[in-house]
């Protein structure tokens, strides 16, 4: 006998919409069994099959089994790879013939689920290729406004106490195509794929800076990589002494070469390339160094002709990945709308979804655990009636910042600007279930 609250939930579970065009309550079908379990027991009961007719001459059961159950499987591999049938779940990239190591590769976010990016699929942005660094000779030097300039070998760093944190890293140029005047007809990978999330393990940078002894008057650090771009970025000292870590491990294994082996900075919530890879040097300074990648690049021109510089922290952002461009619907009926939300300011507080172009919204469920400066998966059950709809998602972070519309984002900047874009992504679905970007 259901209590009153449960009856309400039951109605929702049975499919009464809570917002326009068939959006269901975020807890419909969860833990439930309410709508779905009835038929399962019947199915199980009917599965017994024919009983052997004659005693003593029974057929071996293998005759009814798939070949995987009648032949021993293959042996072990030193390092596992995805199933052969998943061979299309790969990074995409265009090679610049003049500079083959310069550019980006993109994470296939629309083909993944959960929040962790497998290491082989983490997006890449290299400014002059992936260096091949020998960990036996690579060193990190900390100098500048410090009492004790220090040099650390990789072996020495591996002995330090470490922490693990799940953090997203996003290129400041991610979603730049969506900042244009025409919505790009491309997949989530193609538009938003310069975004990944991993568990990073390493040393709080403040431990090493404290050992060097930061002097009074210091206010920034410069971090420099050992790659052929000599990638260098200035980081505010309070951030460097805050949640920044010197990462040595990525999802449990040593950092991949394309992610900075043997070590990189992870500067949570900040522009991607400030998370300097192949880190070789930190100089403590009394101001920003104004490197090329914090003046010419990764700064944003405003309508009055001045530019935002050191606009480092990503605002709240979300994108629906299922369905999305290239991930079409196959006919009316039940679907789970699913997507990713994140903010450089901390945790995601809520994600709202609309199926009627923004006229009505309802909260999506956030998959636990919701972690600070990490990708958060949101989900919402939906019963599509087969009519054309426009799906949207809107993220709010724990500081109350709300993801802006495309138009509101554009209004802040001069024409043609595209860094740090976090406008709402709209997906139109036509009567055939085909998804386009509007």
């Amino acid at each position: 006998m259901a209590r009153r609250g449960e009856e309400g939930l039951l109605r929702q579970a049975l499919g009464e919409p809570v917002a326009g065009n068939g959006l269901l309550h975020r807890r419909a079908f969860l833990r439930g069994g309410i709508a779905f379990t009835g038929g399962m027991a019947a199915l199980a009961a009917g599965g017994g099959g024919a009983v052997a007719a004659a005693v003593g001459q029974s057929d071996p059961i293998g005759l009814d089994s798939p070949p995987t159950m009648t032949t021993p499987g293959r042996s072990f591999t030193p390092y596992g790879v995805p199933a052969a049938a998943e061979s299309d779940v790969v990074r995409t990239f265009n090679v610049n013939p003049i500079a083959p190591g310069t550019g980006t590769s993109r994470t296939p976010l629309h083909l993944l689920n959960g929040t962790i990016t497998p290491n082989g699929l983490h997006f890449e942005r290299h400014h002059n290729g992936v260096p091949d660094i020998d960990p036996a000779t690579h060193e990190l030097i900390i100098h500048g406004l410090v009492d004790r300039p220090l040099v650390f070998t990789v072996d020495a760093l591996m002995r330090y106490p470490m922490e693990s944190h799940i953090r997203f890293i996003e290129c400041a140029g991610n979603s730049g195509a969506a900042a244009g005047t025409m919505p790009p007809q491309n997949t989530v990978q193609g538009i938003h794929g310069l975004l990944s999330c991993a568990e990073w393990t390493g040393i709080p940078l403040n431990v090493l800076l404290d050992e060097a002894g930061v002097q009074a008057g210091a206010s920034w650090i410069l971090a420099e990589g050992a790659d052929a771009a000599g990638m260098s970025r200035s980081i505010p000292l309070d951030k460097a002494m805050g949640d920044t870590i010197l990462a040595l491990y990525q999802n449990g294994e040593r950092i991949r070469p394309e992610q900075g082996y043997p070590m990189r900075l992870v500067v949570p919530g900040f522009q991607g390339n400030i998370n300097v890879k192949w880190l070789r040097r930190i100089k403590v300074t009394d101001g920003p160094t104004h490197t090329r990648d914090e003046t010419s690049r990764y700064s944003e021109l405003m309508p009055d002709g001045t530019a935002r510089q050191f606009w480092l922290e990503f605002g709240p952002k979300s994108v629906i990945v299922q369905p999305s461009f290239g991930v079409n619907l196959t006919g009316p009926g039940y679907y789970e709308i699913s997507g990713l939300a994140w903010s450089g300011a901390g945790r995601i507080a809520r994600v709202e979804v609309s199926a009627d172009g923004g006229m009505s919204w309802t909260d999506a469920a956030l998959s636990e655990p919701v972690q600070s400066k990490a990708l958060t998966r949101f989900r919402l059950p939906w019963r599509w009636d087969g009519q054309p709809v426009v799906l949207m998602s809107r993220a709010v972070d724990e500081k109350g910042q709300v993801q802006p519309t495309h138009e509101a984002w554009k209004a802040q900047f001069a024409p043609g600007q595209a860094f740090m874009y976090n406008g709402i992504q709209n997906w139109a679905i036509d009567a055939n279930g085909e998804v386009s970007n509007v």
Partner: protein
């Protein structure tokens, strides 16, 4: 701390611990202390970054005329004649005064706030196929040449550690430090 150091057992680490122990006791007493002191020579070897003050600029100098020759040899293939860009090429020059218009053009000369950044970036990262292969004199020279194309420096300019930081870039005051801007509560 002392127990950890004792267990490490090497004379060198023990000596270091003695040498820095009074300082560590004030600040970093809890750190494992596994770094070794960096020598001034080591620091000089790796410290290639140049802030707007020009501190750390190397000796040497270069003229616009010499820079034109370096540019023709090492830069023009990717940046076009006079750094004007073109199909598939990265533009370096022009666009001065365009930033507040409907067609802003961001180039070295129209957008970059400091000439020190030009020197720093060319010296550390250019040319793309052979980074860090130019001499300091060549970097001063090619910096002077690029800046001269839009008249940021005169045709007869010579840049060195004294004159380079004094160059007034056209967009010198065009940047708002958004981190500080937000940090002081006035977004």
């Amino acid at each position: 701390m002392s127990r950890l150091r004792t267990s490490l057992g090497t004379a060198a680490v023990g000596a270091l611990a003695l040498a820095v122990a009074p300082v560590l006791a004030q600040g970093a007493a809890e750190g494992p202390g596994l770094g070794r002191p960096a020598t001034p020579e080591e620091i000089a070897h790796v410290d290639i970054s140049i802030p707007p003050s020009g501190e750390n600029l190397p000796p040497g100098s270069g003229t616009v005329a010499a820079g034109a020759m370096v540019f023709a040899e090492r830069c023009v293939a990717c940046h076009g004649e006079a750094g004007a860009g073109g199909q598939g090429l990265t533009r370096l020059t022009g666009g001065v005064g365009s930033l507040a218009t409907d067609m802003p053009v961001k180039t070295v000369n129209s957008y970059w706030p400091y000439a020190t950044t030009v020197f720093d970036y060319i010296r550390r990262a250019m040319p793309l196929d052979a980074p860090q292969s130019l001499t300091n004199e060549q970097v001063y020279a090619v910096t002077a040449y690029i800046l001269s194309i839009d008249g940021v420096v005169p045709e007869d300019a010579t840049l060195d550690a004294t004159t380079l930081p004094q160059v007034e870039m056209p967009n010198r005051n065009g940047f708002v430090n958004w981190y500080m801007h937000e940090g002081d509560g006035t977004p």
